[in-house]
């Protein structure tokens, strides 16, 4: 390095340049599938298998996927699946919040015999393979009439959403000084009102993070809707793959377009709550 560096300026050493190049390389590498998917979504069916980057792009595929035309062509009701996904995931998150917030509060405030075991049990739902439970669930759902219903999906998605909600919110409640509620008790508030009026508003950011994170995880779930739904309550994740059809009827361009549309809601949500996401993903281990 012959040139004098300005003080305070970043030094460009061989090492730092190398590191930057590596990061850039990784960036290109990891984003490539998405770029490829976007390109594919803009191609016509006749272009879908060509690997040339030069083609005349069209937005037609998005319209086809969302409309009746797509359904006639491929018998996939994608807009219906989109709605189902919203209902399933929204419903699942709502139920998880209703039950999970009080549970998280109790778990964060009081220690009792087996409380840690219970929390770990809850967490274990997150890392137990879904395929392990889905076959017996399939039998049960068939016999109880929960198969291919929104109720059934909301129920089974609790396995995904509940642990997230409880674990994230517990850490938020633990960070909250219990003296705040105790002060309210001394002022004459009841336990319940102290919880609702003092503790709850203060964990609102936590509730938002937990809810949105749970929503995203539920949205991305594939195994449960694949096995436990057919057409009525089927979700985006399953519907996307159906465009691939079978026996030479594969619509790769429509698949790509559908996948992009399906990825949009979680992407938008993730961007809006980016601030809380890190803490949510680490189950609240990072202090805000």
């Amino acid at each position: 390095m012959a040139r004098e560096m300005m003080p305070g300026r970043r030094r460009f050493t061989a090492g730092s340049v190398g590191a930057d190049l590596l990061i850039l390389l990784w960036f290109v590498f990891s984003l490539f599938p998405i770029v490829w998917m976007v390109l594919l979504a803009l191609k016509t069916r006749s272009q879908q298998t060509s690997t040339y980057f030069a083609f005349s792009p069209t937005l037609e595929n998005f319209g086809t996927v969302m409309s009746r035309r797509g359904e006639d062509l491929t018998s996939v009701n994608f807009s219906g699946a989109l709605l189902s996904s919203v209902l399933n995931c929204g419903g699942a998150v709502l139920v998880s919040l209703l039950i999970g917030i009080p549970a998280a509060y109790a778990a964060g405030r009081w220690k009792y015999r087996g409380s840690e075991d219970l929390m770990f049990q809850m967490l274990s739902f997150r890392f137990a393979p879904e395929l392990m439970v889905v076959v017996p669930l399939f039998v049960i759902y068939n016999q109880t009439g929960l198969f291919d219903t929104t109720y059934g999906m909301i129920w089974v998605l609790q396995l995904v959403t509940m642990p997230l909600v409880v674990w994230i919110l517990r850490s938020y409640f633990q960070d909250l000084s219990p003296e705040l509620e105790q002060a309210a008790l001394l002022d004459g508030y009841t336990r319940r009102r102290a919880f609702v009026m003092v503790a709850l508003p203060l964990v609102r950011p936590g509730i938002a993070a937990a809810a949105l994170l749970a929503f995203i995880f539920a949205w991305n779930n594939y195994v449960f809707p694949l096995i436990l739904t057919d057409s009525e309550a089927t979700t985006v994740t399953v519907a996307v793959t159906k465009f691939l059809g079978g026996g030479g009827q594969a619509y790769y361009n429509l698949t790509a377009a559908a996948a992009l549309i399906g990825a949009l809601p979680p992407l938008v949500l993730a961007l809006t709550i980016q601030r809380y996401l890190v803490r949510g993903l680490s189950f609240g281990a990072v202090k805000a």
């Binding site: 309210a184 001394l186 002022d187 004459g188 508030y189």
Partner: protein, 371 residues
């Protein structure tokens, strides 16, 4: 109390054999508070002093109703309160963490306590109290923008706003820096006198307790070791724990043997050290632990019993000096606080003594004072 200005209903507080036992299945029951009894007069400021885990905060929380009472009675005035919910006890608590509600400004924080009871004229009450506590300019600020001293003041106001019959303060000065601590401590004392509330302050800081309290209880492992005025606690400790816990620098404790003489008691310590002590109850030849406060040690006259000691370190703090001494045959070192101008040098041998009534003798086994 005739000085009470506002709290015309300052109440006496009586604890009768209050106990708290924590039961955990599969574990030994833990007795956090083992039978506390105290009679606190209206308007009195009481300090509960003790090391962490001694049960002082548990006691405070039981009085406030945030912790159940295993057995015993708590009375405010002539009202038994131990079974009432916290909101019905007429108690104000200043929490250690201040417990200020972050989204609300100071004014709303103060009014919050009145809202639950739907008190009329809450806004006026807040303004009046704020004026009296000289914090009107803080009313529109959020807790996050306040200094810790200001937060402490708001927390106090929050405890006082309902005009409670008893005021409890949990470690009120622990989050303040040294300079603020002194200032707030004085303010607290002035305010308590002015308002006249019956007050209990929980603290682990002996200086805080000594300077604030009318009377103080020194607690250890769930029991009161001694309950009395700061003078009594400091000048006349009931046992070794109290003597050791209260006083800065710490009291010197060393082994000795009591010797009865016609003129009184002398303790032998080390190879040939002797100290005159006032302890009529001591028996001749009794093995004792001698307690000598650094402040009570002084250079000995030629004709009195004394400890001959070699100076290890002499630290000059200008207003006084601290000599760290080694007495032959005595385990550990002895610290003596000497008046300004007495400069001892390292390596010198000096003789120290103390007033006989300032040489405390303790039973080595039980720690009880022998007097």
């Amino acid at each position: 109390m005739t000085t009470a200005v506002t709290a015309t209903d300052a109440a006496p507080l009586t604890l009768t054999d209050v106990r708290k036992t924590y039961l955990a299945r599969g574990r030994e029951p833990f007795e956090a508070v083992k039978g506390m009894s105290m009679d606190i007069r209206p308007g009195e400021l009481i300090a509960l002093l003790g090391p962490s885990g001694c049960g002082k905060t548990t006691t405070l929380r039981m009085i406030a109703g945030l912790e159940t009472v295993t057995s015993g009675a708590i009375a405010i005035g002539d009202r038994q309160v131990q079974d009432l919910p916290p909101g019905k006890r007429d108690i104000g608590v200043g929490f250690e963490s201040y417990a200020l509600y972050p989204p609300l400004n100071v004014r709303e924080n103060l009014a919050y306590g009145l809202k639950a009871r739907r008190v009329r004229g809450a806004a006026r009450q807040v303004d009046q109290l704020a004026a009296r506590l000289e914090m009107s300019d803080l009313l529109d600020q959020r807790p996050a923008s306040l200094s810790s001293g200001q937060k402490q003041r708001v927390a106090l106001a929050r405890a006082l706003i309902r005009n409670p019959r008893v005021l409890l303060l949990d470690e009120p000065l622990s989050h303040l820096d040294a300079a603020q601590r002194q200032r707030v401590r004085r303010e607290l004392k002035v305010l308590q006198r002015e308002f006249g509330y019956t007050t209990i302050v929980v603290t682990h800081d002996q200086l805080e307790a000594l300077s604030l309290a009318d009377r103080m209880a020194v607690m250890n492992a769930g029991v009161i070791e001694q309950f009395g005025t700061p003078d009594e606690i400091y000048d006349d400790p009931a046992n070794m724990f109290v003597a050791d816990f209260v006083g800065e620098p710490k009291i010197n404790l060393f082994e000795g043997t009591a010797v009865r003489r016609s003129g009184g008691t002398v303790v032998r310590a080390g190879r040939d050290g002797r100290l005159a002590a006032y302890a009529p109850a001591a028996t001749d030849g009794q093995a004792v632990t001698v307690g000598l406060r650094p402040q009570d040690a002084r250079p000995a006259h030629d004709d009195e019993p004394a400890l001959a000691a070699r100076v290890v370190v002499y630290e000059d703090f200008m207003e006084f000096g601290l000599a760290t001494l080694e007495v032959p045959g005595v385990d550990g070192r002895i610290v003596a606080q000497l008046p300004h101008g007495v400069r001892w040098r390292r390596g010198e041998t000096r003789r120290i003594a103390a007033r006989p009534d300032r040489v405390y003798l303790f039973d080595t086994e039980t720690g009880t004072r022998i007097r």
